[in-house]
């Protein structure tokens, strides 16, 4: 009985962890390319949640079709944020870019709160329940995890196999050198911010498939993304996915043994500890 609970919690944590990882991938990509910690990360996830919710309730779209809209919107939004807020401060001290992205955070939360209030929303989309022995998981969770893996794989292919993706990696590795060989770094930076935001919005949409949310939920997931990127190493894409799974497993397994209120203590304690002991993360910082 006890081991069955453990197994079910592990599966649960694994599934949500992959989605956390996808969100963190967006954060870590932006940091890896331009050394900017995007404090508008959480609200972009919120917009992804509302995007999929509104396209289902107002436009009557299937959630997966809504997800495509969310991804496209996220890309455009990210490019917009880059042009308006980040572009001018990209070479300024860190505080400037932190505050610039935080100002976007405030604006999104402020407007979204005025429009949607802070009440809970729920996208009641049912994909049935998958059963395997003692384990029963909602289909939406499984679908979200699979889609997250697919998007992460697509990103990997984009970064390693396409010319544009190689541009992104070149700018991340050495912007000045990339410019010297004729890579349009200004446009690549805007695109990278767009992709990072797209990943965050998509992850938000995937979370909204199976969990209730409010305008302020993004803030909670933003903190989770911070923990994850530090676990995996700031700027390391694979680390983000691994870190997401680790966080998901902690959230799934710890409540089996202790009160659930100890989960954040463990998460943030680990977060600070890793920053202090091994700031490059468990897998080492990378590009």
């Amino acid at each position: 009985m006890w081991s069955e609970t453990l197994l079910a919690s592990t599966v649960d944590g694994l599934l949500i962890g992959v989605v956390y990882g996808l969100a963190a991938l967006g954060l870590t990509l932006i940091f890896g390319v331009m050394n900017v910690v995007n404090l508008a990360h959480g609200p972009t996830m919120t917009l992804g949640m509302f995007g999929i919710y509104l396209s289902a309730t107002k436009l009557g779209l299937h959630p997966f079709a809504g997800l495509v809209l969310v991804a496209a919107g996220g890309l455009l939004l990210g490019v917009g944020i880059y042009v308006v807020a980040v572009k001018r401060v990209i070479d300024a001290p860190h505080l400037a870019s932190l505050l610039a992205t935080f100002s976007v955070n405030l604006m999104i939360v402020g407007v979204a709160t005025a429009i949607f209030s802070t009440s809970f929303r729920n996208l009641s989309h049912d994909l049935g329940v998958l059963r395997a022995g003692p384990i029963a998981v909602p289909g939406t969770r499984v679908a979200a995890a699979l889609l997250a893996v697919a998007v992460a794989a697509a990103l990997q292919v984009f970064l390693t196999r396409t010319r544009l993706g190689k541009y992104v990696r070149a700018v991340a590795a050495n912007r000045a050198a990339a410019e010297l060989v004729g890579i349009p770094s200004a446009r690549v930076l805007a695109l990278s911010f767009g992709i990072g935001t797209m990943l965050a919005a998509t992850a938000g949409g995937l979370i909204a498939l199976s969990l209730p949310f409010t305008v302020l939920s993004g803030g909670v997931y933003e903190l989770k993304s911070f923990v994850i990127v530090v676990l995996g190493g700031l700027g390391n894409p694979l680390g983000a996915l691994v870190g997401g799974v680790v966080l998901g497993l902690i959230e799934g397994i710890v409540p089996v043994f202790a009160r659930a209120t100890w989960v954040p203590v463990l998460e943030y304690g680990l977060f600070v500890l890793i920053l202090l002991v091994r700031p490059s993360g468990l897998l080492g910082g990378g590009r």
Binding site: P93, L95, A100, M107, A114, V230
Partner: protein
């Protein structure tokens, strides 16, 4: 520079603060007092953060942790130990300072975004930990019995006493900021801000200076936390460790001008007044009530400051003044 001119900004800041703090008392207005209380609180916190952020260049995103820890320490002393408010404030400052001293040497090894993230993590970790500590009230927190206020002249008398205390602490924080700015210690901090590695080569023992700045920037927030939550009569983890308040403090310091003595005063004062103005205004633009989107307005303001006047209001004005003076006649 002579001693008088060196201390001129501090004297101006302290006098300005005392004069404006006296206004509600002279007018005998309770609503004015409450507005000014929030302004004084913000000034005290911003001036403290400025010591670390402005002088030393370390962006603490979770500075509110000292406010919360001081608040909890003070509240525990009053509610459980039956201590006087003065003891509680001293205790709050002491505990916050000790926490900074213990944490500082480790956390200040991190730079840039890693430091910023770590301070956020510390704030969240402490908040999550207190939720699990039953003697501190756990997730629901603690309440003060109203009878406690009797020793301070009842609820009304307590509010005036708290106001006066807040003014004194805010003046203390601003004066401390001025003294640090003009001291040899402050010079060491500025060198660290400009180039930490070069500072080390010049013989500035960086970690000692940084920890010193960290502790100094934690003590007054701890005292203000003890005072604030005493006045509220209630404390709970979600209200004591508000990350949004923490970032608002950064905005105030940046708005006024990081690294200047008058900056935190100007930034915190104008930010709080603007905010309370927005919150109470019935202004409508394009059918949207400004009150409903005050967060977004604050965000837009921040964006403008970061992009256009990164030196802040005071820094910008000083730059203009110096440019005027140096122009040949």
């Amino acid at each position: 520079m002579g001693t008088q001119r060196r201390h001129a900004p501090t004297v101006v800041a302290a006098s300005l603060l005392v004069l404006s703090a006296a206004l509600p008392a002279l007018a005998g207005s309770a609503s004015m007092r409450e507005t000014m209380f929030s302004v004084l609180l913000a000034i005290g916190l911003a001036a403290s953060l400025n010591i670390l952020l402005g002088y030393c260049g370390y962006a603490s995103f979770g500075h509110v942790v000292f406010f919360g820890i001081g608040g909890y320490a003070g509240f525990y002393l009053v509610a459980v130990q039956g201590a006087h408010l003065a003891t509680a404030i001293a205790g709050g400052g002491l505990v916050a300072g000790a926490f900074a001293a213990g944490l500082g040497a480790a956390i200040l090894r991190l730079r840039g975004p890693h430091f910023a993230l770590a301070t956020i993590g510390v704030n969240e970790a402490v908040k999550a930990l207190i939720v699990n500590i039953e003697p501190l009230g756990g997730p629901t927190g603690m309440n003060l019995n109203v009878s406690v206020f009797r020793a301070y002249g009842g609820a009304a008398g307590m509010l005036w006493a708290a106001y006066g205390t807040a003014a004194a602490i805010a003046v203390g924080a601003v004066v401390l900021g001025g003294l640090v700015r003009t001291s040899r210690f402050g010079l060491g901090l500025l060198v660290i801000r400009e180039d930490e590695d070069a500072a080390a080569v010049l013989g500035v023992v960086a970690w000692r200076y940084k920890v010193g700045a960290y502790v100094l920037s934690a003590v007054f927030p701890g005292m203000l936390g003890a005072l604030f939550f005493f006045k509220q009569g209630v404390i709970e983890p979600a209200g004591a460790f508000r990350l949004d308040l923490s970032v608002e403090l950064l905005v105030m310091v940046m708005l006024g001008g990081a690294g200047t003595v008058l900056g935190p005063l100007v930034g915190a004062g104008s930010y709080q007044l603007l905010r309370s103005g927005l919150l109470t205004s019935d202004l409508e633009v394009l059918g949207v009530r400004i009150r409903d989107v005050q967060l977004a307005v604050a965000g837009a303001l921040l964006l403008l400051v970061v992009q256009l006047v990164p030196a802040g209001l005071v820094g910008w004005a000083r730059g203009r003044w110096l440019a005027l003076r140096s122009r040949p006649a």
